[in-house]
Protein backbone atom coordinates (compact mmCIF):
# COMPACT_ATOMS: atom_id res chain seq x y z
CA UNK A 1 0.00 0.00 0.00
CA UNK A 2 1.34 3.42 -0.91
CA UNK A 3 1.81 6.03 1.73
CA UNK A 4 -1.23 8.23 2.07
CA UNK A 5 0.41 11.49 1.03
CA UNK A 6 -1.37 11.50 -2.32
CA UNK A 7 -4.05 8.87 -1.74
CA UNK A 8 -5.83 10.66 1.08
CA UNK A 9 -5.86 14.11 -0.50
CA UNK A 10 -7.05 12.47 -3.73
CA UNK A 11 -9.94 10.76 -1.94
CA UNK A 12 -10.76 13.96 -0.05
CA UNK A 13 -10.74 16.00 -3.22
CA UNK A 14 -12.90 13.50 -5.12
CA UNK A 15 -15.45 13.36 -2.29
CA UNK A 16 -15.40 17.16 -2.00
CA UNK A 17 -16.12 17.58 -5.71
CA UNK A 18 -19.02 15.12 -5.48
CA UNK A 19 -20.40 16.87 -2.37
CA UNK A 20 -20.06 20.28 -4.00
CA UNK A 21 -21.72 19.06 -7.20
CA UNK A 22 -24.61 17.67 -5.15
CA UNK A 23 -24.89 20.95 -3.26
CA UNK A 24 -24.27 19.29 0.10
CA UNK A 25 -23.11 21.96 2.51
CA UNK A 26 -21.40 20.23 5.42
CA UNK A 27 -19.08 23.06 6.23
CA UNK A 28 -19.15 26.78 5.61
CA UNK A 29 -16.82 29.73 6.04
CA UNK A 30 -19.71 32.11 6.53
CA UNK A 31 -20.52 33.52 9.92
CA UNK A 32 -23.76 32.45 11.52
CA UNK A 33 -26.78 34.24 10.16
CA UNK A 34 -29.80 35.88 11.75
CA UNK A 35 -32.70 33.46 11.46
CA UNK A 36 -35.87 34.86 9.86
CA UNK A 37 -38.48 32.85 11.75
CA UNK A 38 -41.45 31.42 9.88
CA UNK A 39 -44.90 32.34 11.21
CA UNK A 40 -48.12 30.95 9.91
CA UNK A 41 -50.62 33.62 8.91
CA UNK A 42 -50.45 37.35 9.55
CA UNK A 43 -47.16 39.00 10.39
CA UNK A 44 -46.99 40.85 13.72
CA UNK A 45 -47.17 44.65 13.61
CA UNK A 46 -46.98 45.04 17.39
CA UNK A 47 -43.37 45.19 18.65
CA UNK A 48 -44.52 43.46 21.87
CA UNK A 49 -45.97 40.48 19.99
CA UNK A 50 -44.70 37.10 21.23
CA UNK A 51 -44.23 36.04 17.59
CA UNK A 52 -40.95 37.97 17.35
CA UNK A 53 -37.85 35.81 17.87
CA UNK A 54 -34.97 36.87 20.09
CA UNK A 55 -33.40 39.89 18.38
CA UNK A 56 -29.79 40.07 17.22
CA UNK A 57 -27.76 43.12 18.20
CA UNK A 58 -26.13 44.74 15.19
CA UNK A 59 -23.36 47.20 16.14
CA UNK A 60 -23.37 50.59 14.44
CA UNK A 61 -20.47 52.94 13.93
CA UNK A 62 -20.48 56.55 12.88
CA UNK A 63 -19.69 56.84 9.20
CA UNK A 64 -16.28 58.29 8.43
CA UNK A 65 -16.66 59.47 4.85
CA UNK A 66 -18.94 62.49 4.85
CA UNK A 67 -18.20 65.70 6.74
CA UNK A 68 -19.16 66.84 9.30
CA UNK A 69 -17.96 63.70 11.04
CA UNK A 70 -19.64 62.48 14.18
CA UNK A 71 -18.45 64.44 17.22
CA UNK A 72 -17.71 61.46 19.41
CA UNK A 73 -17.36 57.73 19.32
CA UNK A 74 -20.26 56.08 21.09
CA UNK A 75 -21.62 52.62 21.45
CA UNK A 76 -24.68 52.32 19.27
CA UNK A 77 -26.53 49.28 18.10
CA UNK A 78 -29.81 48.31 16.52
CA UNK A 79 -31.61 45.15 17.61
CA UNK A 80 -33.02 43.22 14.69
CA UNK A 81 -35.66 40.51 14.69
CA UNK A 82 -37.32 39.21 11.54
CA UNK A 83 -40.19 36.89 10.66
CA UNK A 84 -41.76 35.78 7.38
CA UNK A 85 -44.92 33.98 6.38
CA UNK A 86 -43.91 32.73 2.94
CA UNK A 87 -45.13 35.81 1.09
CA UNK A 88 -44.07 38.77 3.25
CA UNK A 89 -41.25 39.55 5.64
CA UNK A 90 -41.33 41.79 8.72
CA UNK A 91 -38.38 43.37 10.49
CA UNK A 92 -38.55 44.67 14.05
CA UNK A 93 -35.84 47.29 14.53
CA UNK A 94 -35.21 48.58 18.03
CA UNK A 95 -32.66 51.17 19.04
CA UNK A 96 -32.11 53.49 21.95
CA UNK A 97 -32.67 57.20 21.41
CA UNK A 98 -33.03 59.54 24.36
CA UNK A 99 -35.19 62.03 22.46
CA UNK A 100 -38.15 61.56 20.17
CA UNK A 101 -37.55 63.72 17.12
CA UNK A 102 -40.38 63.56 14.60
CA UNK A 103 -40.80 65.82 11.59
CA UNK A 104 -43.83 68.09 11.67
CA UNK A 105 -45.72 69.26 8.58
CA UNK A 106 -44.04 72.41 7.30
CA UNK A 107 -41.44 72.30 10.06
CA UNK A 108 -37.84 72.81 9.09
CA UNK A 109 -36.31 72.96 12.54
CA UNK A 110 -36.35 69.26 13.37
CA UNK A 111 -34.11 66.55 12.00
CA UNK A 112 -36.23 63.43 12.38
CA UNK A 113 -34.99 60.18 13.91
CA UNK A 114 -34.72 57.61 11.15
CA UNK A 115 -33.66 54.09 10.26
CA UNK A 116 -32.85 52.29 7.03
CA UNK A 117 -32.48 48.71 5.94
CA UNK A 118 -30.32 48.21 2.87
CA UNK A 119 -30.36 45.11 0.63
CA UNK A 120 -28.17 44.17 -2.35
CA UNK A 121 -30.17 44.22 -5.59
CA UNK A 122 -27.92 41.59 -7.17
CA UNK A 123 -26.93 38.32 -5.55
CA UNK A 124 -23.68 37.98 -7.50
CA UNK A 125 -21.51 40.05 -5.20
CA UNK A 126 -22.14 42.20 -2.13
CA UNK A 127 -22.29 45.87 -3.13
CA UNK A 128 -20.20 48.62 -1.61
CA UNK A 129 -21.60 49.08 1.90
CA UNK A 130 -22.02 52.86 1.52
CA UNK A 131 -25.15 52.75 -0.67
CA UNK A 132 -23.78 50.65 -3.52
CA UNK A 133 -22.18 51.64 -6.79
CA UNK A 134 -23.33 52.29 -10.35
CA UNK A 135 -22.82 48.66 -11.38
CA UNK A 136 -23.95 47.12 -8.10
CA UNK A 137 -26.87 49.10 -6.61
CA UNK A 138 -28.73 48.64 -3.34
CA UNK A 139 -32.40 48.70 -2.43
CA UNK A 140 -33.15 50.76 0.68
CA UNK A 141 -36.16 50.96 3.00
CA UNK A 142 -36.03 54.40 4.61
CA UNK A 143 -38.23 55.21 7.58
CA UNK A 144 -38.33 58.67 9.18
CA UNK A 145 -40.27 59.66 12.28
CA UNK A 146 -43.23 61.82 11.28
CA UNK A 147 -42.59 61.28 7.56
CA UNK A 148 -43.19 57.60 6.91
CA UNK A 149 -41.52 54.91 4.88
CA UNK A 150 -40.06 54.93 1.38
CA UNK A 151 -38.72 52.22 -0.90
CA UNK A 152 -35.57 53.56 -2.55
CA UNK A 153 -32.75 52.52 -4.82
CA UNK A 154 -29.21 53.86 -4.47
CA UNK A 155 -26.24 53.64 -6.79
CA UNK A 156 -28.11 52.71 -9.97
CA UNK A 157 -29.05 56.20 -11.16
CA UNK A 158 -26.00 57.32 -13.08
CA UNK A 159 -25.45 53.93 -14.68
CA UNK A 160 -28.71 53.94 -16.65
CA UNK A 161 -29.62 55.66 -19.89
CA UNK A 162 -32.68 58.00 -19.92
CA UNK A 163 -34.57 55.33 -21.89
CA UNK A 164 -33.72 52.66 -19.34
CA UNK A 165 -34.67 55.01 -16.51
CA UNK A 166 -38.01 55.80 -18.13
CA UNK A 167 -38.72 52.11 -18.62
CA UNK A 168 -38.00 51.55 -14.92
CA UNK A 169 -40.37 54.33 -13.89
CA UNK A 170 -37.59 56.63 -12.65
CA UNK A 171 -37.14 60.31 -13.45
CA UNK A 172 -35.42 60.74 -16.83
CA UNK A 173 -32.46 62.51 -15.21
CA UNK A 174 -31.24 61.45 -11.79
CA UNK A 175 -31.08 64.24 -9.23
CA UNK A 176 -29.53 62.19 -6.46
CA UNK A 177 -27.67 58.89 -6.06
CA UNK A 178 -30.61 57.82 -3.87
CA UNK A 179 -33.93 57.69 -5.68
CA UNK A 180 -37.52 56.87 -4.92
CA UNK A 181 -38.74 53.76 -6.72
CA UNK A 182 -42.00 54.28 -8.68
CA UNK A 183 -45.37 54.18 -6.93
CA UNK A 184 -45.94 50.57 -8.02
CA UNK A 185 -42.91 49.59 -5.90
CA UNK A 186 -43.96 51.50 -2.78
CA UNK A 187 -45.09 48.31 -1.11
CA UNK A 188 -43.44 48.70 2.29
CA UNK A 189 -45.50 49.30 5.42
CA UNK A 190 -44.16 50.72 8.67
CA UNK A 191 -45.47 50.71 12.23
CA UNK A 192 -43.50 52.75 14.74
CA UNK A 193 -43.66 53.17 18.51
CA UNK A 194 -41.48 55.37 20.71
CA UNK A 195 -41.41 54.08 24.27
CA UNK A 196 -39.06 54.36 27.25
CA UNK A 197 -36.26 56.05 25.34
CA UNK A 198 -36.25 53.63 22.42
CA UNK A 199 -37.74 53.37 18.96
CA UNK A 200 -39.56 50.19 17.93
CA UNK A 201 -40.12 50.17 14.17
CA UNK A 202 -41.78 47.31 12.29
CA UNK A 203 -41.17 47.24 8.53
CA UNK A 204 -43.15 44.85 6.35
CA UNK A 205 -42.52 44.18 2.67
CA UNK A 206 -43.12 41.34 0.20
CA UNK A 207 -40.49 38.59 0.19
CA UNK A 208 -40.34 38.78 -3.59
CA UNK A 209 -39.48 41.76 -5.74
CA UNK A 210 -42.03 43.92 -7.57
CA UNK A 211 -39.46 46.05 -9.45
CA UNK A 212 -36.14 45.19 -11.16
CA UNK A 213 -34.32 47.50 -8.73
CA UNK A 214 -36.01 46.06 -5.64
CA UNK A 215 -34.27 43.17 -3.93
CA UNK A 216 -35.88 39.77 -3.68
CA UNK A 217 -35.59 38.31 -0.19
CA UNK A 218 -37.17 34.99 -1.12
CA UNK A 219 -33.89 33.21 -0.45
CA UNK A 220 -31.25 33.86 2.20
CA UNK A 221 -30.07 37.45 1.92
CA UNK A 222 -27.80 40.15 3.34
CA UNK A 223 -28.85 43.45 4.85
CA UNK A 224 -27.21 46.48 6.42
CA UNK A 225 -28.67 49.03 8.81
CA UNK A 226 -28.27 52.69 9.72
CA UNK A 227 -29.90 55.00 12.24
CA UNK A 228 -30.10 58.77 12.60
CA UNK A 229 -30.44 60.55 15.92
CA UNK A 230 -32.19 63.82 15.01
CA UNK A 231 -31.45 65.57 18.29
CA UNK A 232 -27.74 65.32 17.50
CA UNK A 233 -28.27 66.99 14.16
CA UNK A 234 -27.86 63.76 12.26
CA UNK A 235 -29.21 63.86 8.71
CA UNK A 236 -28.12 62.76 5.26
CA UNK A 237 -24.71 61.12 5.42
CA UNK A 238 -24.28 61.90 9.12
CA UNK A 239 -25.52 58.65 10.60
CA UNK A 240 -24.46 55.42 12.29
CA UNK A 241 -24.09 52.44 9.98
CA UNK A 242 -23.59 48.69 10.27
CA UNK A 243 -21.75 46.18 8.12
CA UNK A 244 -23.51 43.51 6.05
CA UNK A 245 -25.49 41.02 8.14
CA UNK A 246 -26.54 37.61 6.81
CA UNK A 247 -30.16 36.50 7.14
CA UNK A 248 -31.36 32.92 6.78
CA UNK A 249 -35.01 32.13 6.11
CA UNK A 250 -36.54 29.39 8.20
CA UNK A 251 -37.86 26.94 5.63
CA UNK A 252 -41.32 25.53 5.44
CA UNK A 253 -42.71 23.28 2.76
CA UNK A 254 -45.87 24.70 1.34
CA UNK A 255 -48.53 22.50 -0.11
CA UNK A 256 -49.25 23.42 -3.69
CA UNK A 257 -52.44 25.48 -3.90
CA UNK A 258 -55.36 23.25 -4.66
CA UNK A 259 -57.52 24.27 -7.60
CA UNK A 260 -60.84 25.44 -6.29
CA UNK A 261 -63.95 23.77 -7.56
CA UNK A 262 -66.08 26.09 -9.67
CA UNK A 263 -69.53 26.66 -8.34
CA UNK A 264 -71.67 24.16 -10.21
CA UNK A 265 -74.82 26.11 -10.85
CA UNK A 266 -74.28 29.82 -10.38
CA UNK A 267 -73.35 31.76 -13.47
CA UNK A 268 -72.34 35.38 -13.24
CA UNK A 269 -72.01 37.81 -16.07
CA UNK A 270 -69.81 40.22 -14.16
CA UNK A 271 -66.64 41.15 -15.99
CA UNK A 272 -63.79 41.59 -13.53
CA UNK A 273 -60.60 43.32 -14.41
CA UNK A 274 -57.58 41.07 -14.87
CA UNK A 275 -55.27 40.95 -11.91
CA UNK A 276 -51.79 39.57 -11.61
CA UNK A 277 -51.03 37.92 -8.34
CA UNK A 278 -47.42 37.28 -7.59
CA UNK A 279 -46.87 35.00 -4.69
CA UNK A 280 -43.51 33.74 -3.52
CA UNK A 281 -43.36 30.26 -2.15
CA UNK A 282 -40.29 29.32 -0.15
CA UNK A 283 -39.79 25.68 -0.93
CA UNK A 284 -37.06 23.53 0.54
CA UNK A 285 -37.06 19.95 -0.62
CA UNK A 286 -34.41 18.72 1.83
CA UNK A 287 -35.35 19.12 5.50
CA UNK A 288 -32.78 20.89 7.67
CA UNK A 289 -32.14 17.86 9.88
CA UNK A 290 -31.00 15.91 6.81
CA UNK A 291 -28.03 18.26 6.42
CA UNK A 292 -26.96 17.49 9.98
CA UNK A 293 -27.20 13.74 9.36
CA UNK A 294 -25.36 14.02 6.02
CA UNK A 295 -22.59 16.14 7.56
CA UNK A 296 -21.99 13.71 10.43
CA UNK A 297 -22.29 10.72 8.09
CA UNK A 298 -19.67 12.12 5.71
CA UNK A 299 -17.30 12.68 8.65
CA UNK A 300 -17.95 9.19 10.03
CA UNK A 301 -17.43 7.53 6.64
CA UNK A 302 -14.16 9.43 6.22
CA UNK A 303 -12.95 8.18 9.61
CA UNK A 304 -13.91 4.59 8.75
CA UNK A 305 -12.24 4.88 5.33
CA UNK A 306 -9.06 6.17 6.97
CA UNK A 307 -9.14 3.28 9.44
CA UNK A 308 -9.73 0.73 6.67
CA UNK A 309 -6.87 2.09 4.58
CA UNK A 310 -4.59 1.89 7.61
CA UNK A 311 -5.31 -1.80 8.10
CA UNK A 312 -4.71 -2.78 4.47
Amino acid sequence: MRRPELLFPGIALAVAVVLAALGIVVVTAQESAVLVKFVNGSLPVDPASPLWPKPADVPLTSQTLVYPLAPAVENRAVSVAAVHNGTHIAFLLTWKDATQDAAKPGGLDVFPDAVVVQFPVSRAQLPYICMGTVDNPVNIIYWRAGVGVENLVAGAGYGLSPQQREALGLQTTPTSPVELLPDSAQVVQAYAVYKDGAWYVVLIRPLGSVHPLMSSLADDFSAAFATWDGSKGERGGLKATSGWVQFRLERRIFAAPQPTQPAPTTMTATQTSATTVTQTYVVETTPAWAWVVIGVLVALLAVVAGLALRRR
Binding site: L13, V27, T28, A29, A288, W291, G295, V296, V298, G306
Partner: protein
Protein backbone atom coordinates in the same frame (compact mmCIF):
# COMPACT_ATOMS: atom_id res chain seq x y z
CA UNK B 1 -1.00 18.47 1.23
CA UNK B 2 -3.10 19.34 4.27
CA UNK B 3 -1.41 22.73 4.37
CA UNK B 4 -2.09 23.14 0.66
CA UNK B 5 -5.85 22.69 1.16
CA UNK B 6 -5.73 24.91 4.23
CA UNK B 7 -3.89 27.71 2.46
CA UNK B 8 -6.11 27.37 -0.61
CA UNK B 9 -9.26 27.54 1.50
CA UNK B 10 -7.96 30.43 3.56
CA UNK B 11 -6.63 32.38 0.60
CA UNK B 12 -9.62 31.93 -1.69
CA UNK B 13 -12.48 32.05 0.80
CA UNK B 14 -11.25 34.57 3.29
CA UNK B 15 -8.75 36.86 1.59
CA UNK B 16 -9.26 37.01 -2.17
CA UNK B 17 -13.07 37.21 -1.82
CA UNK B 18 -12.74 40.32 0.31
CA UNK B 19 -10.33 42.09 -2.02
CA UNK B 20 -12.52 41.40 -5.03
CA UNK B 21 -14.46 44.64 -4.56
CA UNK B 22 -11.44 46.42 -6.06
CA UNK B 23 -11.64 44.41 -9.28
CA UNK B 24 -13.85 46.01 -11.98
CA UNK B 25 -16.96 43.95 -12.64
CA UNK B 26 -16.94 42.54 -16.16
CA UNK B 27 -18.28 39.22 -17.48
CA UNK B 28 -14.72 37.84 -17.41
CA UNK B 29 -13.90 38.96 -13.87
CA UNK B 30 -17.31 37.78 -12.71
CA UNK B 31 -16.68 34.32 -14.20
CA UNK B 32 -13.28 34.33 -12.51
CA UNK B 33 -14.89 35.28 -9.21
CA UNK B 34 -17.42 32.47 -9.48
CA UNK B 35 -14.53 30.09 -10.32
CA UNK B 36 -12.61 31.23 -7.25
CA UNK B 37 -15.66 30.74 -5.07
CA UNK B 38 -16.14 27.20 -6.37
CA UNK B 39 -12.47 26.23 -5.94
CA UNK B 40 -12.55 27.72 -2.43
CA UNK B 41 -15.75 25.82 -1.66
CA UNK B 42 -14.37 22.52 -2.96
CA UNK B 43 -11.10 22.95 -1.05
CA UNK B 44 -13.10 23.67 2.10
CA UNK B 45 -15.06 20.43 1.65
CA UNK B 46 -11.84 18.55 0.83
CA UNK B 47 -10.31 19.84 4.03
CA UNK B 48 -13.31 18.55 5.96
CA UNK B 49 -13.13 15.05 4.45
CA UNK B 50 -9.32 14.91 4.58
CA UNK B 51 -9.26 15.84 8.28
CA UNK B 52 -11.54 12.93 9.19
CA UNK B 53 -9.65 10.56 6.87
CA UNK B 54 -6.42 11.38 8.71
CA UNK B 55 -8.10 10.99 12.09
CA UNK B 56 -9.27 7.54 11.04
CA UNK B 57 -5.84 6.67 9.70
CA UNK B 58 -4.15 7.57 12.97
CA UNK B 59 -6.12 4.73 14.52
CA UNK B 60 -6.68 3.96 18.16
CA UNK B 61 -4.27 6.52 19.58
CA UNK B 62 -6.37 9.31 18.05
CA UNK B 63 -9.66 7.80 19.25
CA UNK B 64 -10.45 10.49 21.89
CA UNK B 65 -9.59 13.21 19.38
CA UNK B 66 -11.71 11.57 16.67
CA UNK B 67 -14.64 11.21 19.05
CA UNK B 68 -14.30 14.83 20.17
CA UNK B 69 -14.09 16.00 16.56
CA UNK B 70 -17.20 14.04 15.57
CA UNK B 71 -19.21 15.19 18.59
CA UNK B 72 -18.21 18.86 18.27
CA UNK B 73 -18.87 18.79 14.51
CA UNK B 74 -22.29 17.23 15.06
CA UNK B 75 -23.07 19.93 17.65
CA UNK B 76 -21.91 22.60 15.24
CA UNK B 77 -24.05 21.21 12.42
CA UNK B 78 -27.03 21.09 14.79
CA UNK B 79 -27.36 24.84 14.21
CA UNK B 80 -29.19 23.83 11.01
CA UNK B 81 -32.06 22.63 13.22
CA UNK B 82 -31.90 25.64 15.52
CA UNK B 83 -29.67 24.19 18.27
CA UNK B 84 -26.85 26.68 18.68
CA UNK B 85 -24.14 24.98 20.77
CA UNK B 86 -21.07 25.96 18.81
CA UNK B 87 -17.99 24.66 20.60
CA UNK B 88 -15.86 23.70 17.63
CA UNK B 89 -13.33 26.32 18.72
CA UNK B 90 -12.31 23.92 21.53
CA UNK B 91 -11.02 21.34 19.06
CA UNK B 92 -7.61 22.89 18.21
CA UNK B 93 -6.80 23.17 21.93
CA UNK B 94 -7.92 19.59 22.53
CA UNK B 95 -5.90 18.51 19.51
CA UNK B 96 -2.77 20.19 20.88
CA UNK B 97 -2.91 17.76 23.84
CA UNK B 98 -2.23 14.94 21.37
CA UNK B 99 0.25 16.69 19.11
CA UNK B 100 2.34 18.58 21.57
CA UNK B 101 4.36 21.34 20.09
CA UNK B 102 4.38 25.09 20.55
CA UNK B 103 2.74 25.85 17.20
CA UNK B 104 -0.23 23.57 17.87
CA UNK B 105 -0.58 25.00 21.36
CA UNK B 106 -0.48 28.59 20.08
CA UNK B 107 -3.05 27.71 17.38
CA UNK B 108 -5.29 26.06 20.00
CA UNK B 109 -5.03 28.96 22.44
CA UNK B 110 -5.76 31.45 19.67
CA UNK B 111 -8.96 29.71 18.55
CA UNK B 112 -10.05 29.06 22.15
CA UNK B 113 -9.61 32.76 22.95
CA UNK B 114 -11.58 33.70 19.85
CA UNK B 115 -14.31 31.24 20.81
CA UNK B 116 -14.55 32.62 24.34
CA UNK B 117 -14.59 36.25 23.21
CA UNK B 118 -16.86 35.89 20.20
Amino acid sequence: MYLFFLVLEFFLNRILNRFWIFVPATPVTHALFVGIQWVGFVSMLALYVYSFLLLGHWGRRALPLTAAALILTAMDLASYVGIYIKLLWLLPLFSSLFFRNKLNLAFGVYYAARGVVG
